[in-house]
Amino acid sequence: MHNHIKELRIKLNITQDQLAQRVNVRRETIVFLEQGKYNPSLKLAYLVAKELGTSLDKLFLFED
């Protein structure tokens, strides 16, 4: 599942560590999220979208 987390994070001038602290996860989890190697829970996905000021469907790209 691809996403725009890295692009939006850089656009808002937020580091991976800062984003991790805001959504209460480890920095490594943000790294895996940005690389598309980890599918977050609904709660975490919602929190990340909220911190980046966007919605879930605009942040994550679901591929069939």
Partner: protein, 181 residues
């Protein structure tokens, strides 16, 4: 408290615990490592609450769950095969049967514990951990009680009578080498 400081303290605690266990073996004191383990676990638990950084998140729990399941499967297969092999070769060495039975009982206990926790998590929320801890402590208490009863009851053991070691029941190990007084 920072995570790095907690990890340093944890490492030091493990080293001290290892030293305590080695000393307990020298002094033949089984209570010393138990006391140290409980004290260390309590101290680390209290210190962990003071760490402000995130120590484990949902990805760690997910990965840990998958790793634990695979580890249980590997141990189950290994212990079962090991038990069967050792039981088949018990005539060649007196200790093979005891080791095989230890593997079998440990495997049964592990799967029983896994089944109880799995069933609990299926029915209850992951946040309700207090009741789960109570159930686990109760199972551990039952296991330790059964183990202690078996170990200290004198059944299937060697007893010192009139200066000689007399078998009581069917002990799986040879007579003690210490003099019978």
């Amino acid at each position: 408290m920072k995570l790095k400081h907690y990890q340093t303290i944890k490492l030091a605690a493990v080293i001290i615990l290892a030293m305590a266990v080695s000393q307990s073996i020298l002094f033949k004191n089984i209570f010393l490592p138990i006391i140290f383990m409980l004290a260390t676990a309590l101290i680390l638990m209290l210190l962990r609450r003071r760490v402000k950084e995130v120590m484990a998140d949902e990805r760690d729990y997910q990965t840990g769950g998958q790793a634990a399941l695979l580890a249980i499967q590997i141990y189950g297969w290994g212990a079962t095969i090991g038990m069967l092999v050792l039981y088949g070769l018990r005539d060649y060495n007196l200790y093979y049967e005891s080791i095989g039975l230890t593997l079998a009982y440990s495997c049964c206990f592990l799967f029983l514990l896994y089944g109880v926790i799995f069933r609990y998590y299926q029915k209850h929320k992951f946040a309700d951990k207090k009741i789960l801890y109570i159930i686990i402590l109760f199972i551990l208490f039952l296991g330790m009680a059964a183990f202690s009863l078996r170990l200290f009851s004198g059944e299937d053991d060697w007893q010192c009578q009139n200066g000689q070691w007399i078998p009581h029941g069917h002990p799986d190990f040879p007579a003690p080498t210490v003099p019978c007084k």
